[in-house]
Symmetry: C2
Subunit: 243 residues, 2 copies
DNA sequence: AAGTGGTCTAGACCACGAC
DNA sequence: TCGTGGTCTAGACCACTTA
């Protein structure tokens, strides 16, 4: 029996507003009820409403105009991520309107390579769980991901590990670490023979290379990963609010 | 440093804390004063302090641990952008510890090409101000940018336009439009002969291609641009807080 | 002039981590 | 247990847009 805490009010408000935007109760281009009105409707303080709206604005979902009102952004349908969601490949595929799937290619303990050892601040030759996975959008391969997690962070008794889980879910199930932030390196790269084969592209095609390292609250690296992203098959399009 | 009224209090607090972090008053890895303590020190409410800290956390500058305290992130030096700074190439270069410079290649009115007309929602053949510029990091060319702005958005009497201004400053000086948000397309591309020459790379090298369209609060496209980013010369590395 | 979002305050109580 | 950050409230006043 697991403990359930009451869901934070702000989170509930968040879900309600997102739902109303998604299902068209608040149509694209239209004005939302005022903050005071929402505050009354939902019976929460205006401060709470504002916290939630700030989040939606940062994602580009709404536009707020002082002295006028809050509007649903017209152009969100074109976008598949905001810069905070860059690691959630499944959601990214989903919000492009396609069906995501993960295929596990390999998943096994092995010594860390040089790059991984450096990323994870491990002594050379330390054991990591190596994971290679292929993400599909509507049965078309679009992202090839190689991850490494230090073995000692994982609950070995939970093996075998399920390679089709999202990284978030994977960590929650097999480890007690929590991710605080990630550092991401964005590069352009040419497809090697092997990568090209998996992604069904010509060898030498340009691909996005996304290298992510996840850290916990104590600044310890938890996971490092290199992803090859076929930007011809799946656009990477993001909104940025003008802070 | 003291608090005065004209500029927003939160902004002043923001600057104060950033300064203290940058100059080492709050050293990397060390704990900041508690929120209540800061609230007393600066004579602002705790809510205001929290607003500012939330911003710093989103940028990855600090880590907050419930029940413990707020810490300066150790790894900030490695990073050159955060969620939302992707368009500010000059700042991006600067925060990599290098000296930014902008060279104006061309700047002149011309008809919009097909792509620009579509991005900017203009009739084919409409006039735009075309701008081609090269960004340098320590005298090394790193980003080639081509922008287009509909001519009728610009104050023609202000010509000639200064092509060495940041896009933000450019718009402020020559137009009354304000940018609300941007949609960015991230791609990998191969350097054409011409692009390679400007960036001093081999023809066919992989480059990041960043296509940005800026919109104002009324959802009208203001600027569109295509940038070629030499990721071998200048890493694109960003922090993402785990929301 | 009225109504909107923007800013800020002063408090309350809770959840968590270190001691 | 104590101090920290996390959540939330009720209300004040300001700045801006629209009519």
């Amino acid at each position: 029996m697991s403990i359930t805490r009451p869901t934070p009010i702000a989170e509930q408000v968040n879900q309600i507003l997102r739902t109303r935007i998604r299902d068209g109760s608040y149509a694209p281009g239209k004005r939302l009820p005022s903050e005071s009105e929402l505050s009354r409707q939902l019976d929460v303080s205006r401060a709470t409403v504002r916290t939630v709206l700030a989040g939606l604005e940062a994602e580009g979902l709404i536009l707020r105009k002082q002295g006028d009102g809050t509007y649903v952004n017209l152009r969100i349908q074109d976008v598949n991520t905001h810069l905070g969601g860059l690691w959630e490949f499944s959601r990214l595929i989903e919000s492009s309107g396609r069906q995501p799937a993960i295929k596990e290619l390999t998943i096994q303990p092995r010594p860390a390579d040089d790059n991984e050892a450096e990323c994870l601040a491990l002594p050379l030759g330390s054991l990591v769980l190596g994971m290679e996975r292929l993400f599909f959008a509507d049965d078309q391969p679009v992202i090839l991901v190689a991850n490494a997690i230090p073995l000692h962070f994982l609950d070995q008794s939970a093996a075998p590990f399920d390679g089709r889980l999202h990284i978030r879910e994977f960590l929650r199930r097999y480890s007690n670490r929590k991710i605080a932030y990630a550092i991401t390196d964005l590069r352009a790269a040419l497809a090697t023979e092997r990568i090209a084969q998996f992604l069904e592209r010509a060898s030498g095609s340009p691909l996005l290379k996304i290298a992510i390292t996840f850290y916990d609250r104590d600044n310890r690296p938890i996971i490092c990963g290199q992803s090859y992203y076929d930007d011809a098959a799946l656009h990477l399009r993001l909104v940025q609010a003008w802070g």
